[in-house]
């Protein structure tokens, strides 16, 4: 016979009182465990939503990027590399550069595996009189693109074969000339190979011929006055700040200007789309965080209320138990049990109630958490049934709380005067 046996015999004898205590502790533990499980599920669901959203955004951005790349290609070159001493006022006034640089620069640029630009096209451009037709035109000598990455790359501008020319739309219409016609330019015979569609800019009065032939016609052998290029789809709006240092490193005596401002606008749009995507993800995160905060706040009120309610109930049950066992306490004291042992009998029972409530409540709370749907119609989300840290926490905390709740009744039991009880009984 020992105190443990006494405690368990009493529990078995007063099953209803014990069960009520266990249920009370279980309600408190279940409330806590369910609240934590729901928050855990919320976090998992948030992770799931954000991951999906990020993946979706990434996909959209890839598509957007591809769209912009195609748009940029359609727009043509948007960066021009000029001799460093080229006066830009003259360039904008005359529509062509008045200073020259070696054609070899284009090759050097390509061989350097430049990263910030692509589609390198050396050109020689000059406004000239077309004596045979008495027209002022822009003469553009071009050769094929100097490939940076691969020979397979589709060029933005077709190579103009020697002896042929490509005409701008307005020029062809007004002269008039059509594909296959033979015509003379500055005394040299050319066949019209192609007429460009209307572009609404100076291209409409431009004549494209082979670069070498242009150099000969203009007396600029081995020289060019511009390198056209397409900027990379850098992930920043301020692309020039990235292109310029790289080009300056490779071709120190050149300068870089942006050739077409639409590209900048589009890049800005692209940037805005990326920002919007990030904002959308952040909005989702903020929304989820707000929802979590609300759930936390609710749990922060409910859980303590349930804990306090359960503790009071356990305390009242313990008090009733003490009153019911008044005579028993008296005789046990008469038999020599010390006050501390009487205290242990009642606290021991409270600990068993706490342990039973913790185990039962953990299972109930976890089941409630498992059945909880984060949103109506949401896919079920599984969380581990056994959370060792949480289980350990409730297995320790519930008996401690139950013992604390029973402390005053247990103390009153231990302080009962056996003589008073035995005389009254």
């Amino acid at each position: 016979m020992n105190l443990y046996r006494l405690v368990f015999r009493e529990i078995l004898h007063r099953k209803l009182s014990f069960s009520l205590g266990v249920i009370s502790a279980a309600v408190a533990v279940a409330g806590l465990v369910a609240a934590l499980a729901i928050l855990q599920k919320h976090d998992a669901r948030t992770e799931q939503i954000i991951t999906a959203k990020e993946a979706e955004t990434r996909q959209q951005m890839v598509k957007l990027e591809d769209d912009y790349r195609k748009l940029m290609l359609k727009m043509g070159f948007n960066v021009m590399i000029l001799p460093k001493d080229q006066n830009l006022s003259d360039l904008y006034a005359d529509d062509f550069a008045s200073n020259y640089m070696p054609e070899e620069y284009a090759t050097r640029l390509a061989k350097s595996r430049v990263a910030t630009i692509n589609h390198i096209l050396p050109s020689l451009q000059q406004k000239v009189k077309w004596p045979e037709h008495e027209r002022t035109v822009l003469l553009m000598g071009v050769r094929g693109e100097v490939y940076v990455q691969s020979q397979q790359q589709k060029p933005l501008l077709e190579m103009v074969a020697p002896g042929t020319m490509i005409l701008g739309h307005e020029l062809a219409r007004s002269l008039p000339l059509k594909v296959g016609d033979q015509t003379k330019l500055m005394g040299h015979q050319f066949a019209v190979a192609k007429i460009n569609p209307e572009r609404g800019n100076k291209d409409d009065i431009t004549v494209w011929i082979n670069l070498t032939e242009a150099q000969e016609l203009l007396g600029k052998r081995g020289l060019i006055n511009g390198i056209l290029a397409l900027d990379c789809t850098c992930d920043t709006v301020d692309r020039l700040s990235r292109i310029r240092p790289e080009i300056a490193r490779i071709l120190p005596d050149t300068q870089v200007i942006e050739y077409a401002s639409q590209a900048l606008t589009r890049a800005e749009a692209r940037q805005r789309a990326a920002t919007e995507a990030q904002t959308s993800i952040q909005r989702e995160k903020d929304g989820r965080a707000t929802l979590r905060g609300e759930r936390e706040a609710l749990a922060a009120v409910l859980v303590p209320v349930v804990l306090v309610g359960s503790s009071i109930w356990i305390g009242l049950l313990a008090l009733a138990n003490v009153r019911e066992r008044r005579c028993e306490i008296g005789i046990l004291r008469a038999l020599g049990l010390r006050a501390r042992q009487i205290l242990l009998i009642f606290l021991g029972k409270a600990v068993v109630i706490g342990l039973g409530g913790a185990a039962f409540g953990y299972v109930v709370g976890r089941v409630v958490g498992a059945l909880w749907r984060d949103a109506p119609g949401a896919q079920p989300l599984h969380i581990a049934f056994i959370d060792p840290r949480l289980l350990l926490l409730v297995l320790v905390a519930a008996p401690v709380l139950a013992a604390l709740a029973s402390w005053l009744p247990a103390m009153s039991a231990s302080q009962q005067d056996p003589a008073v009880v035995l005389r009254e009984e």
Partner: protein
């Protein structure tokens, strides 16, 4: 014979709404080893108070109690509890059995406060047999007759071989036959060398006692 229990000028007073009440007044009593003393008196004369004071459960207002020369009230509360467990057995009119323990566990309950020596179980079974409770071993008090309950209470009181057995109206709820069994048992226990103090209002209870003392108005006559 050596004095087992010495009660010297013991008084116990309570403060009530109508002033101080002297429940026990200057009582002196000596019980030797092997002596069975019955204190007889009407209800309310202070018998139970005297018994509780003798049993180290109720601090006297004045006077002292010596059991084997030791005053239990000079001990701390914990030491006094241990002293009771080792030296004193109690039998009450209401039996005061633990309702959820079976017969064997109720008897063994008197060892809860003591260090176990391994003989308790065997000794408990001996008492069970001695009191004719063998077939009731695993019954709880509610399943026993009143006579059986009092025999269980007696067995519990005797398990630790106390030097002093205190009995408060032990036959008050029993029929004649069971009452006789209990009284014979108390007498036998005294003959075995213990001191027995019985308090009762029944005149015939003194038949088995070696000495009968009358009590009235808190004083021994």
């Amino acid at each position: 014979m050596s004095a087992r229990l010495q009660i010297e000028s013991l008084s116990k007073s309570y403060s009530g709404p109508k002033g101080r009440i002297d429940v026990v007044n200057e009582v002196s009593l000596t019980i030797n080893a092997g002596e069975f003393v019955a204190v007889q008196g009407p209800s309310g004369c202070g018998k139970t108070t005297l018994l509780l004071a003798a049993g180290a459960l109720l601090q006297p207002t004045r006077g002292r109690v010596l059991l084997n020369g030791q005053d239990p009230y000079e001990l701390s509360s914990g030491q006094r509890a241990q002293f009771r467990a080792l030296n004193i057995g109690f039998v009450f009119q209401q039996f005061h059995l633990v309702p959820y323990l079976d017969v064997l566990d109720n008897i063994l309950a008197s060892t809860l406060a003591l260090k176990r020596n391994g003989n308790e179980h065997g000794r408990a079974l001996e008492l069970v047999e001695q009191f004719g409770l063998t077939n009731r071993l695993r019954h709880i008090p509610a399943a026993l007759s009143t006579g059986e309950r009092q025999r269980v209470a007696l067995a519990r009181a005797l398990l630790n071989n106390p030097k002093l057995l205190l009995a408060d109206e032990p036959t008050g709820n029993l029929d004649e036959e069971n009452g006789q069994v209990v009284m014979r048992c108390l007498a036998d226990f005294a003959r075995a060398g213990a001191a027995v103090l019985l308090v009762t209002h029944e005149p015939r209870a003194g038949d088995h006692a070696s000495r009968v003392v009358k009590m009235d108005g808190g004083k021994l006559r």
